[in-house]
Symmetry: C2
Subunit: 358 residues, 2 copies
Amino acid sequence: MDTNNYCIIMAGGTGSRFWPMSTADHPKQFIDIFGTGDSLLQSTFRRFENVCPRENIIIVTSSAYRGLAEQQIGGLQRYQVIYEPMRRNTAPCVAYAAAIIKQLNPQANIIVSPSDHAIFDNEQFTRTIEESVRAAQSHDWIITLGIKPLNPNTKYGYIQYNENSVEGNGKLHEVITYTEKPPYDMAVQFLNSGDFLWNAGIFIWSLPTLEKAYRRYLPDVAVFFDKINMNTPYDDIEKLYATCQPISTDYGIMEKTDNVHVMEADFRWSDVETWQSLYESVEKDNRHNAIVGSNVFTYDVSNCIINLPNSKTVVLQGLDDYIVAGDESTILICKRSEEHRIFKFESDIEVHKNKQEK
Amino acid sequence: MDTNNYCIIMAGGTGSRFWPMSTADHPKQFIDIFGTGDSLLQSTFRRFENVCPRENIIIVTSSAYRGLAEQQIGGLQRYQVIYEPMRRNTAPCVAYAAAIIKQLNPQANIIVSPSDHAIFDNEQFTRTIEESVRAAQSHDWIITLGIKPLNPNTKYGYIQYNENSVEGNGKLHEVITYTEKPPYDMAVQFLNSGDFLWNAGIFIWSLPTLEKAYRRYLPDVAVFFDKINMNTPYDDIEKLYATCQPISTDYGIMEKTDNVHVMEADFRWSDVETWQSLYESVEKDNRHNAIVGSNVFTYDVSNCIINLPNSKTVVLQGLDDYIVAGDESTILICKRSEEHRIFKFESDIEVHKNKQEK
């Protein structure tokens, strides 16, 4: 394990797609969506403990979720959890954490990762990261992990790569184009061509490469490297954030620079963005149900996604193709085809509760 | 209100048909199945407060439910709740309570009623009881309330009556035959003939008539009148019960005596025995859903029976013809046509929990 490796885990997202289990106050990264006993953040943190010493892992989250990361991951040093004063997309988030890491180790290798994705082969993941770190270190490259596409999903970024590999293991390639969220027909072409990978949102770069890229493409954000250290008062951080435009690293840097390379990843991955993607990524029983919850009893139930706390006893009979999900006080039963309406259901209930409180 | 009127409410039943809301430990009579704020026992008690002074109401229940009646109905005198030491069907239950009433008022008019039925017109109910009391008092008759049958239900007792009425209001008739739980074809004939009423299980008789009937037809049980008073030690009650065969008043007395008359009842009634009978007896929304629960949100939901505590927020989408029922920790979703399997579901879960505890 290279002690120069540092990880930035981005845990500020608000995704409420798994309502009622995830909510605006307690978003997806903090919930145990797979019923493994670990939240997505906890799994991500554990995964990176194989890549770098645990004290080298920095979690960036929102002040709206104060305390949640510390609750879920014990024994963190104070600098390991950073609270962003406001949402400014990923570029300021990464710069803030990188500025802190610069104080700890100016020669750091930095792995940037979402906190709320799932990876189903930790050993292969570790190997892929280690190979990426080696390449990033020696070439001043930005490495992004690419996932072999399984379907023409229009929500992802597509990376076109040069099929000649640039390093020994045959997995690392030059990036030709990058297309975020293509229209459906284009996504189908990308998929069929075999020349594209999904962008997994995991970047590997050395701190000097990272800082150089910010100074060149995002100079407004690059001031973080001059002005932020571990002792910067929170008010000053707030002022700095207020001056930033919200912008992603993808858009602000990756699409502009020509030193991005893609590492083909060999592990099964899911961004766990929808019940459908969750369903696709987990084991099913012999009636094609994906069940989380130790007290779920099913009779004549098929093709369902069932996700309930162990404290609830639930008997389901005669359901086909439904989502059944809940937390301690709320339960949702909804046709899988109607998943897109969950936001509406959640907001209807908010409206109802606000009315009652008045 | 006639202060000679006394009520015996039988609340010892074990019915677990409304699992998970009702259980062996907390059966149907103690739950608020209609979401009115009152359990069936509480509603029954209130109904009889219009018929007699509240201190004249005796609740007979099982020692398995010790404390539940007192919890639900405040300010009861000690003699008003009687605990049967073992289950012996209704004949010993009524005799035990009647023996206590005899001490209080040997000229009592006694109304015997189940605790777990629903009556949807309390004023009409009061009038019917008052007319029945008058007839029972003046003629040494046993009056049973008869409900106009709505369908050929094979679970009920059918009373054939002489269509000439025997009293002024035109509702009181001689009983010709009594048939408990007829086969389906016979029930259809009964229904079509127009000469039959369902037995509601509510009997009105004077204490002297009642005691005479027991002494003649059930002399083994009639000894209660000689041996039981308010101060009888519980051990002695237990010994007396141990000598009784389980037998119902219907079978032990009503079917044998010739002084039973039936009073046609004009109120809507339900024995609340199944989700189906519950569904038939309550108001439905414009999509034919019967909903109890103040935080139930439905989308594209029709013909469902939904019964959930107010503490639970439940979103249902795309369900047709289901039962959705629950308590704080358990929820059941089941096709209405599969209601008969609920006993099996409940027992499967018991088995599972017992295994886990081992």
